[in-house]
Symmetry: C2
Subunit: 432 residues, 2 copies
């Protein structure tokens, strides 16, 4: 059986029907068991994990994962950025590597699936290749990136230089990133050695939970990610005038909270006025001085806009700014916007999208094209090569919380699509 | 001259024209100088004072004020509630006392006029009576009430029992009220001795700064207060569902901050929809968890309504609650109201209003009837006798801030109207 399968795989792609039966399959139960074992590192009493980057739990979890990599036949090392890199040689040393992976660090009080599914799913793919003695043409690298949830350090270090501010920033572990990198076996002085030039990777493929509820609601098994949305954040300050809430007649107020409230409502109206998957959020808001009996004189709030189209984000932002000015004129308040740099959208490769969709279809899985509203290591990897992402459903759309959950069957499906996509990509003629 | 004036005052009221020239006058410059001296106690580097009740600054300022009382010929003592009580005997010991006063404690980083003008204005009235040897029929009491800004303890202790919770509450000084009362020379175990039965006071008159901008904008010199508004506070909790701001489509959100924003706007609309001086405020608001990238799942906010008419407050509250339910239905959120007890409106005595207005007019001062949107010791004193309040303009309507300011001329006007009202009230036939 194994010999026949191997033979089949060695046939050129053209010799196989698009819907041909998969050549191999992951062991879903083993993958789920590994996820369960990883969940012990940083486990919280109330469920989920707090395995923030550079914590003791992170370090211990990484050791566990290194062991899985080695058991899967990977030559595993820790690079200078603190990434766990497991290599498997290809049959053609001139070909660029296919890279698969994700991260295992969590947010504080996070769940057991964000990052973990993609990391252990990638190792499971390597394990199956080893067990089936499936020789790829391309080198395969499984990378578990360091500190994704904090400053996305590991993948960014592959894609470009890391500035001192990022290294000096404080991580959730209480260590500065610089010290955290050392803590997990990296070397912040040697980050340049980690960098990969643009064009040096055949493809980066990442399996991930959706972290939203679109797939579940649509009863769809696999999300074919069109790209990772761009994000524009701005801190907005509304200046009014603080005054006694009893002695200041309504008509004389310059109520910063009233203006801010109208702004929150208007932002929602602007974002939802046109079709598309764009989202806009006011996630935090503080009114000052903040007492029952004082008309708020100042409000600070944080807004963000996300979409796959950077131009659309900019147009929405301009509409929202204009609306804010109009609101301010109504009641004698003023709006000031401190805009942060746009985190540019990272589009996935259309050919990889098609490949993922075809491999999912070949397994009889339903698929849906969709944006990733959340950030991922893939967005950094997009700077050095084509990327593809595979989403599986998140039950209830919940993520970054102990209740985060993806079903075993969906996890197995996702890992199988990752395996099949790697195999199909490896066989593509002319693949460099 | 003095003899003629005294003779004039001894004539029955009916013998004097309503617009007769005032019999005596305060010394405005002296009063303003006293205010300047008091401002040294708890003075802040950036202006204004932090003379919170039971602080060292409060105790030192009270000592200064006791000295002023004694210099004005008052028999001054500290009562068990920590009130400074200065007495001047009347010619008819069977008559009830006329009480005048206010407070000298401040909010943290407060101003130099709130309470101080009325306290030192009342002492100035006593000083003039002493200097002019003007004998009143009624006993006169000047009371500088303790801890008005915190829990309005001093005046409440005259009007009724004080519960243990109020005594155990923490004051801005860092002392519990119970300990603070001792600190300023009172005795929390003997508060019952301070109580006055209903009907035991001829009238309580309080001069105060407006703390709003109505008089200044209307270019009116004296506010004749119709009453102290009732206040209804409620803590409102909006329950939605916290979710990832990138991965949750707009249509799937249960955004508690969006619902709260619509509530803030709607409360304003309800309050301003009908004519009248009612005010409604959302003074504080907190969104949880409060991050750029999370749709807020819960908002807590504080609302209050104020008006002279308790029924109107209740009607507005019901309209607002109904509006909240409708807002919640729009986006899958729910509103919960924790309503605090209504602080009932305290109406001033119509006869005292008329007397104040007439005495102001006799000095050629412009007047305006108006509610007091802020709370005052007078609202407690209303429980034991008729009250009257005299407002003077606050420049810019600013109060509870270092910029709080009332002009010397306005202060002098207010104190003169207080003096004239006391004199006129004392002469009223049948006054008990």
């Amino acid at each position: 059986m194994k010999a026949i399968l191997t033979l089949l795989l060695l046939l050129p792609l053209s010799a196989r029907a698009a819907g041909a039966a998969p050549a191999a399959a992951v062991q879903g139960a083993r993958l789920v068991a590994h996820l369960g074992a990883l969940a012990e590192y940083g486990k919280n009493p109330q469920g989920g994990v707090s395995r923030v980057a550079y914590s003791e739990a992170d370090r211990a979890g990484r050791e566990y994962v290194l062991g899985l990599m080695r058991a899967a036949g990977l030559a595993a090392t820790v690079d200078a950025a603190g990434n766990l890199v497991g290599r498997r040689a290809g049959s053609d040393a001139t070909l660029k590597p296919i890279v698969i992976g994700s991260h295992i660090d969590s947010v504080p009080e996070g769940g057991n699936y964000d990052g973990d599914v993609g990391s252990l799913g990638a190792i499971e793919v390597a394990q199956v290749l080893a067990e089936r003695h499936l020789q790829l043409r391309h080198p395969l690298e499984v990378i578990v990136f360091g500190n994704e949830e904090g400053v996305m350090l590991g993948s960014a270090a592959l894609a470009g230089p890391i500035d001192a501010a990022r290294l000096d920033s404080m991580s959730q572990s209480g260590k500065r990133v610089r010290d955290g990198v050392r803590f997990v076996g990296g070397d912040p002085e040697r980050l340049a050695e980690v960098r990969r030039p643009p064009g040096s990777v055949r493809a980066y493929l990442e399996l991930h939970i959706e972290q939203g509820g679109v797939l579940e609601r649509a009863q769809t098994q696999i999300g074919v990610v069109e790209g990772i949305v761009g994000i524009l954040d701005a801190e907005v300050t509304v200046e009014g005038f603080a005054n006694h809430a009893g002695t200041t007649p309504m008509a004389e107020r310059r109520d910063a909270l009233l203006a801010a409230a109208r702004f929150v409502d208007k932002l929602n109206a602007v974002v939802t006025a046109s079709p598309g998957a764009q989202v806009g959020t006011v996630g935090w808001l503080r009114a000052e001085p903040g007492a029952y009996n004082v008309v708020p004189g100042r409000v600070r709030l944080g807004m963000e806009l996300r979409d796959l189209d950077a131009g659309k984000i900019e147009r929405l932002y301009e509409q929202i700014r204009a609306a804010a000015d109009a609101i301010g004129r109504q009641n004698g308040t003023s709006f000031r916007f401190e805009r942060h740099a746009l985190a540019a959208p990272a589009l996935t490769d259309p050919a990889l999208q098609a490949l993922i969709a075809a491999r999912a279809a070949a397994r009889g899985l339903t698929t849906r094209r969709m944006p990733s509203g959340a950030g991922h290591d893939a967005q950094e990897m997009a700077r050095i090569g084509p990327i593809g992402m595979i989403f599986i459903p998140s039950v209830g759309g919940i993520s970054h919380a102990p209740q985060e959950y993806s079903r075993p069957g969906d996890i197995e499906n996702g890992a199988n699509v990752l395996l099949d996509t790697v195999l199909a990509l490896d066989r593509e003629p002319g693949g460099r």
